[in-house]
């Protein structure tokens, strides 16, 4: 219990640490020595006000007890974490599962697209890149609402899927129900995939675009078929982009609640929905804060293991 608290509260004080240490090159000239610190000032102030302070505040909230009428007090009631986890673990699992699948789907859709933009688009490169970012010109909420229309029960998409019996298959897999796509896991995952796809494509594109085309020629010259060239040269060199893309997709997707709210039913609630309702509807601030910390710790742990496994530090 206390371990969970320590781990969850760990990051805030250490987070600004590396930044300060990095920007401390020793200069002899008296005034110049201050310059790096002065340049850091805005960033450090930002971190203190918008990251450290809220974290500390949330951490203290998570160990408070009381009610809205009588007021909350810090009582070091760490059992809140335990209770929250026991009550809401299915939501945690669901969140990680949905965002994991959405991340995999983003990678499957985004990699070929990024590859195409980087190596095949020629003079259309910038146009396609703008098209990738174009959805950002409308708000997240509206884009997600649009999917309600796309996946509507009487809409052409669902009717088509029904006719070709895809929905039978998805229903058998328990990702849709009956003749509906809305209010099913499939709808939520579709929404997540769609909304976070650009966060996958852009880092992938950046890392693919940096690969020297001569390396492909060299691989071909050394008896590698195009597929082997991809497997042995292109993909390993794009790994930094894959790691960045999957993190940028997985982390926000696992905390997301809009997609589950608009496209799912009560059976698809993710942990984001729970936190949101604890904060704004139930007004149980300690539980909400504890859930936030648990989520953060879980993501931190997953990401750490993932980066270790991907071994990005080995790459150039």
């Amino acid at each position: 219990m206390s371990a969970a608290t320590a781990q969850a509260a760990g990051p805030p004080p250490t987070a600004p640490g590396p930044g300060t240490a990095q920007a401390a090159p020793r200069r002899t000239a008296g005034r110049r020595r201050l310059t790096p610190y002065l340049l850091l000032l805005a960033g450090v102030a930002w971190l203190l006000v918008f990251f450290v302070a809220p974290m500390v505040y949330q951490a203290s909230t998570s160990v408070q007890t009381g009610s809205l009428d009588k007021g909350f007090k810090v009582t070091w009631h760490v059992a809140t974490y335990w209770d929250a986890l026991r009550e809401y673990w299915p939501h945690f699992l669901r969140s990680l599962l949905y965002s994991g699948i959405a991340t995999a789907a983003c990678l499957a859709i985004g990699y070929p697209l990024a590859y195409m933009i980087a190596f095949r688009a020629g003079r259309w490169r910038n146009v396609v890149l703008v098209l990738v970012i174009a959805p950002f010109f409308t708000s997240f909420l509206i884009r997600t609402l649009a999917w309600e229309t796309i996946l509507a029960d009487q809409g052409p998409v669902v009717r088509f899927l029904n006719r070709v019996h895809v929905l039978d298959v998805t229903a058998w897999l328990h990702v849709t129900q009956g003749d509906r796509v809305l209010a099913t896991p499939l709808a939520v995952v579709c929404g997540l995939t769609y909304n976070f796809l650009p966060f996958m494509i852009l880092p992938l594109y950046t890392s693919l675009e940096r690969i020297d085309g001569k390396l492909h020629e060299a691989a071909g010259d050394l008896y590698a078929t195009p597929f082997t060239t991809f497997r042995k040269v292109t993909f390993p060199l794009s790994l930094p982009g894959v790691v960045a893309g999957t993190l940028l997709t997985f982390i926000p997707a696992s905390g997301d609640y809009i997609n589950a709210e608009l496209l799912g039913s009560t059976n698809q609630k993710m942990i984001g929905n729970v936190i949101q309702s604890q904060f704004l509807r139930v007004l149980d601030y300690p539980t909400a804060a504890a859930l936030s910390f648990i989520l953060m710790a879980a993501i931190l742990a997953i990401v750490t293991v993932y980066i270790r496994r991907a071994g990005t530090e080995e790459l150039v």
Binding site: E217, V233, V316
Partner: protein, 388 residues
């Protein structure tokens, strides 16, 4: 694709009517070329002359517009690069940055399904003198070392032909000299046919057995380095390979094996065997002479010049001392800027700018070129960036 018509077994590479056009621009005009097996062959030319395009067509990285490529008597025109028995040393090496040196060198072997590569890789790294660096990453190596890795990575596959695309272009002068000798040594040791693309005439002459001088998508002349230097066939070759003094002269007649010329009132003799142009009395011809073959004598000592030598009067415009020799620029009635390189053996103190001199040389060193060409062709060929 048809098979190459006259593919002889002795040729490692035979190009037949090979050409490449990009839209309306012709990078390589239909080219016929045979490279004997085991030779060190250089394609020399300024940037944009089509030499790299030719090399890439042999490697299969570029598709020819017309013509065929045959390797060791086998037509490979339709084969993709990974099925051709050639390997390339790329201009900037194109080493795989995510693999260490060992894996870079082993890449080709592994692709052909060879499992135990350690011994071969170690031997190859020994050959290029990189024994202890097998576990380094390319970016931890110097330019010269990376160059050796690129050579090792290509050579380990024992290709029928090794293609080198400006392999020394990124190195500084001293290292380049060293690597020239090194590459020559490796080629002699492994006996594989090398085709080497370069814009550096000195590099081509140092290393290659045969040099093909390319200009504007065509091979201007092909031959042994000394042959090209002594008997250039065009003004481009004469100017691109070293420097040449070209004197426009009128043919007055022929006697024996010699052609008699007159330029600005000066009589000159040119051996008919060394004249690349058809000549007739009254016609015009360019008489060429290399700067180091000309001797310089002060006008006061004119009588000491032996009879029978070609001689031209002039005045020193400029002189620069460069150690081994002094380079003079001479203003002469036959040519406004004659260049003369005089070895610094016994320097005549009177030979300073402004001094009147007599230039004289053995007529046998004179070569003749068709006067109907651009006399300055190839002088600044490197500066003329053409699209390629």
């Amino acid at each position: 694709m048809t098979t190459a018509p006259t593919a002889e077994p002795g040729d490692a590479v035979r190009l037949t009517g090979l050409s490449r056009t990009y839209g309306s621009f012709t990078a390589v005009h239909p080219l016929d070329l045979a490279v004997p097996a085991g030779s060190f062959f250089a394609l020399l030319g300024a940037s944009g002359c089509g030499k790299t395009t030719t090399l890439r067509m042999i490697a299969g990285l570029e598709e020819p517009t017309t013509g065929t490529v045959a390797l060791g008597g086998r037509d490979v025109t339709a084969l993709p690069p990974y099925k051709r028995p050639v390997n390339t040393v790329f201009q900037n090496y194109a080493l795989f940055p995510h693999l260490d040196i060992h894996e870079n060198v082993a890449f080709g072997l592994r692709r052909r399904g060879i499992k135990s590569v350690a011994k071969q890789v170690a031997e190859m790294l020994e050959l290029v003198q990189l024994g202890g660096l097998a576990r380094r990453k390319p970016h931890q190596l110097s330019g010269g070392q990376q160059q050796r890795v690129a050579v090792a990575r290509a050579l380990i596959n024992k290709p029928e032909v090794l293609l080198l695309d400006e392999p020394l272009g990124a190195l500084d002068l001293k290292l380049r000299r060293q690597m020239q000798l090194e590459l020559k040594r490796i080629q002699t040791e492994v006996g594989i046919t090398f085709i080497h693309v370069t814009h550096d005439q000195e590099e081509a002459m140092t290393m290659a057995d045969t040099v093909a001088v390319m200009n504007a998508g065509r091979v201007e002349q092909l031959g042994a380095p000394a042959d090209l230097y002594e008997n250039p066939g065009s003004t481009f070759v004469a100017n691109f390979l070293g420097t040449s003094n070209l004197i426009e002269a009128e043919v007055t007649g022929t006697s024996g094996g010699d052609i008699q010329l007159v330029a600005a009132g000066q009589r000159l003799t040119l051996p008919a065997a060394r004249c690349a142009a058809e000549v007739a009395a009254g016609g015009r011809v360019l008489a060429g002479i290399r700067p180091e073959k000309v001797a310089l004598t002060h006008r006061d000592d004119e009588d000491s010049v032996a009879e029978g030598r070609n001689r031209v009067p002039g005045r020193i415009v400029d002189s620069s001392y460069i150690g081994v020799s002094t380079q003079y620029v001479i203003d002469s009635p036959v040519c406004p800027e004659l260049e003369v390189f005089v070895p610094n053996v016994e320097r005549d103190g009177r030979l300073v700018p402004g001094a009147p001199v007599v230039l004289h040389w053995n007529p046998a060193h004179t070569f003749g070129l068709d006067a109907a060409q651009d006399i300055d062709a190839g002088i600044d060929a490197d500066a003329e960036e053409a699209a390629a």
